[in-house]
């Protein structure tokens, strides 16, 4: 990486990317920044509002502040729960996938299938699947005598959203882990067998270190996606019952497109974006530090 030649003409190669992403990113972002510091009396008359929207948002004693606080906490909790289930489960399944053979191709295609379903259809699938009258999942749980009702019971709604996310995205972790595992040379396993290492020792000393790089990618991608979750809960629970599954994205769309409350929505957008960015950056920095220390 260090002996790359310096060549500023390489900028020309990057310009097309810059043009496309700038158009879709900088202009809308500036619009958001604009709204976040202005207030409107309607009819396109805007006036300067300074940092008032941000003060309101970050102060839990205001209405919008309390709402933001709750949604933020719900979203973080959801991300943590989803990651805590998906990452270990993904590793376990990847370890059980054969290295070669006909079963591999078929398994991988089947596993990737849920990720190729449009998100609103994922919602529809589970909306049907979890209904007690026509869905297998709902009928099975109610049949077992459990109190399960997605639209009326907050716990049911939460469990459902988590189950959907695990169903939908664990395959991503599996595929990443599998790619990492396949990169381990057979010789490593043979050496371990000669040393009489236990299965657990092989996992801890050979497989897990090799998996670290792909797991960083997996955790980053999964955090971003769970933290931005929108379509599935909207279709299945509509953010309810009450506001039990109103995650940040859902609340934001309600405020921006539903109430057309531009100032609050814009300030919320920026804070939301900065939180995502900060968490990803901190996690990435810590992980690369650990990796560097181990390699040193």
């Amino acid at each position: 990486m260090n002996h790359k030649p310096l060549n500023n003409r390489a900028w020309f190669f990057v310009l097309p990317v810059l043009a496309f992403v700038m158009f879709s990113s900088i202009i809308p972002a500036m619009t958001v920044v604009n709204y976040s510091v202005q207030d409107t009396m309607g009819a396109n008359s805007f006036f300067w509002n300074g940092d008032q929207w941000f003060r309101d948002l970050l102060d839990p004693s205001t209405e919008i502040g309390a709402r933001f606080n709750d949604a933020l906490f719900r979203t973080l909790a959801f991300s943590l729960v989803a990651l805590a289930i998906e990452v270990p489960l993904g590793i376990v399944i990847a370890l059980n996938l054969p290295r070669k053979g006909k079963a591999v191709g078929v398994s991988l295609v089947l596993m990737a299938l849920p990720m190729l379903i449009p998100w609103n259809v994922v919602g529809t699938i589970w909306q049907i699947f979890t209904r007690a009258d026509i869905g297998l999942f709902g009928a099975a749980l109610t049949g077992l005598g459990l109190h399960y009702n997605v639209t009326e019971d907050a716990v049911s709604a939460w469990v459902t959203i988590v189950v959907i996310d695990v169903w939908h995205w664990t395959p991503l972790v599996i595929l990443l882990s599998y790619a990492g595992l396949r990169a381990i040379p057979d010789a490593f396993y043979q050496a371990a067998r000669i040393d009489g290492a236990s299965r657990w020792a092989i996992f801890l000393n050979i497989e897990l270190p090799k998996l670290q790089k792909v797991l960083v990618i997996a955790v980053l991608l999964r955090f971003m996606q769970t933290f931005m979750i929108y379509t599935e809960p909207v279709v299945v629970t509509g953010g309810g019952p009450g506001s039990a599954t109103t995650f940040l994205s859902i609340d934001l769309v309600k405020i921006a497109l539903g109430q057309v409350d531009l100032g609050n929505a814009a300030a919320m957008s920026l804070v939301y974006y900065l939180i995502t960015l900060t968490v990803c950056w901190v996690f990435y920095t810590i992980m690369t530090q650990i990796e560097r220390r181990r390699d040193a």
């Binding site: 990057v14 619009t31 596993m111 379903i117 259809v121 595992l181 940040l248 957008s269 939301y272």
Partner: protein, 268 residues
């Protein structure tokens, strides 16, 4: 990764659970609404394709399917084309601001689509692209272009630099080298990248529905519309849902051997 019976059982159980919701959707799509509400059935006792016929005979569904495929195709072509030279530049050269630029590109993946829904609506309305396939195709570039650069950069790094140097010594011009020699070497990477662009554009719903109203309604929007129609037409929704899985299933078949590497961004 030895394959014992335990492994096979774990894998089989997982795959069955994974396929169950999809199977259930297919099951529903082959029944009629009166049949569905009359009780649970593990398989369709009187399978019928009547809802599929209804969708194929309704121009609004057929158009919407075409619209969705069109913007996904436009987006995939744009993303891969502009990302190729950039991925090469990021991997092979050092230039002023390269690291900052790369990081800035990735930050666009972290921007929740909800944040951009409202400004996108205003932007595309202002430039007159609102309610066209181009609006959606361009909007999806926000996350697909950075992703394409990221994946392709991984595949470019797998090609030894000596190949570039040899080609230069042999007197190949850069465009000739890039298109005739370099591209075939990363053909797998290009395929995998195109697959990912396809996937994320195909599954995205929030921006696609926000940026369209009547002429360029995506499939997802037509599905949402048939929701609010009087009573739930479960069988119709199921049949539509099954149809949205077909393009993905077809595309994935072509990249099945490289898919795992693609998810690791070409970096294992």
């Amino acid at each position: 990764m030895r394959q014992g019976y335990a492994s096979k059982i774990v894998l089989t159980v997982y795959l069955v659970l994974l396929m169950l919701p999809i199977y259930w959707l297919i099951n529903m799509s082959l029944r009629t609404n009166t049949d569905i509400v009359s009780g649970l059935a593990l398989w369709p006792h009187h399978p019928t394709l009547v809802k599929y016929v209804e969708i194929f005979n309704d121009p609004s569904w057929v158009n919407a399917f075409g619209v969705s495929l069109t913007y996904v195709a436009i987006n995939t072509v744009i993303s891969v084309t502009v990302a190729l030279p950039a991925a090469y530049a990021f991997n092979r050269y050092h230039f002023v601001g390269d690291k900052h630029l790369f990081f800035w590109l990735l930050t666009n993946l972290m921007a929740p689509a909800a944040v951009f829904a409202m400004p996108f609506f205003q932007l595309y309305y202002a430039v007159g692209l609102f309610d066209t396939v181009w609006a959606v195709a361009l909007a999806h570039c926000l996350f697909n272009v950075p992703l394409a650069v990221w994946i392709l950069e991984g595949f470019v790094s797998g090609v030894p630099r000596e190949i570039d140097e040899t080609a230069a010594i042999d007197g190949y011009s850069f465009p000739h080298f890039f298109i005739r020699i370099f591209l075939p070497l990363i053909a797998n990477g290009v395929g995998v990248t195109a697959f990912f662009c396809f996937m994320f554009s195909w599954v995205e719903e929030l921006l696609a529905t926000t940026l369209t109203s009547s002429n360029a309604l995506p499939f997802a929007a037509v599905m949402t519309r048939s929701y609010s129609a009087a009573g739930m037409d479960w069988a119709l929704l199921s049949a539509a849902g099954v149809l949205t899985m077909v393009p993905g299933a077809v595309v994935i078949w072509f990249v099945r051997n490289h898919i795992a590497k693609g998810f690791a961004l070409g970096r294992v």
